[in-house]
Assembly symmetry: C2
Homo-oligomer: 478 residues x 2
């Protein structure tokens, strides 16, 4: 070949996806090259936008032959820099956004088959139209794509009931790092025929292959919902109330979110139209939701009954059960606007940690003590999916203070909080993943035997290390 490698590769890529599918001008590429949190800005040989699995396979084959790194990208809404290329401009970014057909809905089998580029909200809507529920739900659902959700094993607010993204998948179609296609699009609930390869790809953040399509497991669309905001004396009472509610309802608890008083105060201060639904302030709250069959009234009565017993037992201090759809939306609004309110309140440090549900109270207590010592004046804003042990232990700068010294302390405080989570049997990344940002944490907390295994798996799938290079782990040296 007389032409230098990148231009030969570029020519091949253009031939695969057509000129409109290959973005080579910086201005066109820009939105693909920076991450959601603006932590990284990369460069790329090209941004290619295939429309079919065959095109993805051809792209990967071309890159593999040229030994050029590939960065798969969905909605690019991740928090750990997993979907943007490095700074040296040697990688090809593959955007899955045009691979976005819903291939099939099988209502009787409670499944649907979708391509990676389908926006999550579209997947939810299509399921709903078929009388089914696709329960994955998260803040970015209007723009994130299902391929990215599966590659990062997305969580969200319904994990307690329906599991993480990986629990909602029956089959996958994947383009492997050598360009071959694994057709694992099975629609089966029972299939014991060898290792569960799909579970390796789910949550692999695009480092083992590119998910191009998936068979999703659907659930019945609940006909009844009951929602309450409950004031509790402390986090310990919240975890006990959760256990009680799970048992009493026959596991119909869909959501169980914890909120410190400070979360609500930030919302009242920064979000227009928000108001305290209870007559006086309390230190700790829970947003609890049941869903199931039958009618709203029966489920609300059940929830009220459990709460009445909780008041008796001292597990609850006050509460309100939503009496209308509007009231339910207002209660949810208090939880959903916490991140926005915190953003408006100034600089913020975020920690996406999880521990066993039974250790959440100790985590919150000890982490708060640790922050008070390390960052005097910082405001702890702890909330999250306590139903599955996932606490967003966030910190806001002291009111009116300088953000710079506060943010400069970030890495040290994060280390202390992650060490504490590890001590309590927990995780430094409950739902956001590893990506590029948390590779040092992966080595620190999942080192030794586990890290060696992770690398061995990477090496088995991607010996050349060309699939999303620099994310999660590297293959073993050859």
């Amino acid at each position: 070949m007389s032409a230098p490698l990148p231009s030969a590769l570029l020519e091949r890529l253009r031939a695969i996806v057509g000129p409109r599918g290959c973005l080579e001008v910086e201005a066109d590429q820009a939105p693909y090259l920076r991450d959601e949190r603006d932590l990284y800005r990369g460069r790329a040989v090209a941004v290619v936008r295939p429309r079919t699995t065959a095109e993805v396979a051809a792209i990967v084959t071309a890159c593999a032959e040229a030994r050029v790194g590939i960065v798969p990208q969905g909605g690019n809404t991740g928090y750990v820099g997993g979907s943007v290329p490095g700074e040296d401009g040697t990688e090809v970014l593959v955007s899955l956004s045009r691979l976005n057909r819903i291939r099939d809905i099988d209502a009787l089998n409670y499944t649907m088959t979708v391509e990676a580029g389908c926006v999550l909200a579209e997947v939810q809507r299509a399921a709903r139209e078929a009388g089914r529920l696709f329960p994955l739900s998260l803040a970015a659902e209007g723009s994130c794509q299902i391929g990215g959700n599966l590659s990062t094993n997305a969580g969200g607010t319904a994990v307690l009931r329906y599991g993480n993204a990986r629990d909602l998948v029956l089959g996958l179609e994947v383009v492997l790092p050598d360009g071959s296609v694994w057709d694992g699009l099975r629609r089966l609930r029972k299939d014991n025929t060898g290792y569960d390869l799909k579970q390796l790809l789910l949550g692999a953040e695009g480092t083992l292959g590119i998910i191009t399509a998936a068979v999703l497991a659907l659930h019945p669309l609940p006909s009844a919902v009951a929602t309450a905001l409950v004031a509790v004396p402390d986090p310990r009472a919240a975890t006990r109330l959760l256990a009680t509610l799970r048992s009493a309802s026959g596991d119909q608890v869909t959501t169980f979110e914890y909120l410190q008083r400070r979360c609500l105060e930030l919302v009242f201060a920064h979000i227009e139209g928000s108001a305290d639904p209870l007559p006086r302030p309390y230190g700790h709250y829970v947003l609890a939701e049941l869903s199931g069959g039958g009618e709203d009234g029966a489920l609300a009565a059940l929830l009220e009954e459990v709460l009445a017993e909780a008041f008796e037992a001292g597990l609850a201090l006050d509460g309100v059960v939503a009496a209308s759809r509007e009231q339910r939306a207002r209660l949810w609004g208090l939880r959903e606007t916490v991140p926005e309110a915190q953003k408006r309140a100034g600089a913020c440090l975020k920690h996406d940690i999880s521990v066993p549900v039974s250790r959440v109270p100790e985590l919150i207590e000890r982490a708060t003590g640790l922050v008070e010592a390390a960052l005097p004046g910082a405001r702890v804003v702890a909330f999250g999916h306590v139903g599955d042990g996932n606490v967003h232990f966030n910190l806001s700068q002291a009111h009116g203070s300088d953000p710079e010294p506060f943010l400069a302390r970030g890495p040290d405080v994060a280390r202390q909080i992650h060490d504490l989570a590890a001590e309590l049997g927990g995780s430094f990344s409950a739902e956001h993943g590893v990506g590029r940002l948390k590779r040092p944490e992966l080595e620190r907390y999942r080192g030794g035997v586990e890290h060696d295994l992770l690398r061995a798996v990477k090496g088995a799938f991607d010996p050349l290390g060309i699939m999303n290079p620099g994310k999660v782990v590297d293959p073993p040296r050859r």
Copy 2:
């Protein structure tokens, strides 16, 4: 070393587990060397019975250094010869039965930590005593061990509601093929820190390492149960009734088992005390069970309401809802004694297949036609977990006929039935696994890219191929 290898290794094994932990005499070894179905009879260097994870690690290290194969064994109740050694007597059998402590129950976190050798029924009992449900339930539960259940990803009758064994595990402790120990005993519901290694080990049938302990996810103990036997016009109506019942109950359907009339007739003929609970015979039945919170009465009323609508819609012809615990036990007895009744009726060919729920009717219809052509006079006895698409499509010899020619046709008929399942997007092994018996099927139906991936994973974990050799897949040649 002057001693030949096996005796040096034997000495080392004796030192690790003590003389009582090392069975060297043929009579002592015998029960460990033949499988449940008596398909295989193997030989072993020794049968070792470690009491701790450290002992397992020492055994594996010794075997790895001597390049000697290791066969892990739990309750030895599997159907595909996965837990017995080969015939040449070169392998060491590791029985996990003495590694059987319940390490921890965390009711607030809905988890328990158990060692591999715990008998499933003991695990269920311990959970129940803590006010929790461990929902895995299957015929062998009085003798099978949890380590084997997890290694084979056991299914059973509650998969529709609670998933397979792999869906009930949060963490694992595993001795790897080089003797190192992976401590992945995390008790977390959210943990996105690298590839989900535990899902690789679950269902790997002991070919990637030895599971020594696990964190199991528990569920609330249901306070209410409602059970019905329903006559339906055909399998299509059964699948539609299932979809309706899932929606109407808010997914509280725990069991949905299909039975052909012939299954009941075999039970009536061979099982003492059995009787038809309905006034006249029908062609097809469903055993359906709901479970949840609240009281039995409310759930039974819900079930009756859905069945009343099903009668209106022509999806059900007749039915009985159990009015007492005794009646429930009698209905369950009809389903649970089918395998025993079939055994007493003479020679039998079994097929553990699955398809999408929506294709079960076509599977039963076409497989029946296929058998009528291939084995005139054979009796189709189709039943199973239709709720998750898993049909036990079994055949009994014609009444009073010679079993030999019938059984001789087994492999050919199995091939035709597996081909049909594959054509319908199904599996040749829904819950029994691959083991030694179904390796040819694995190559036939999961060949090409998928089989290469399976072997690559095997090679990454066990490059020497010493972990349960000859089961599932071999590592790539080095």
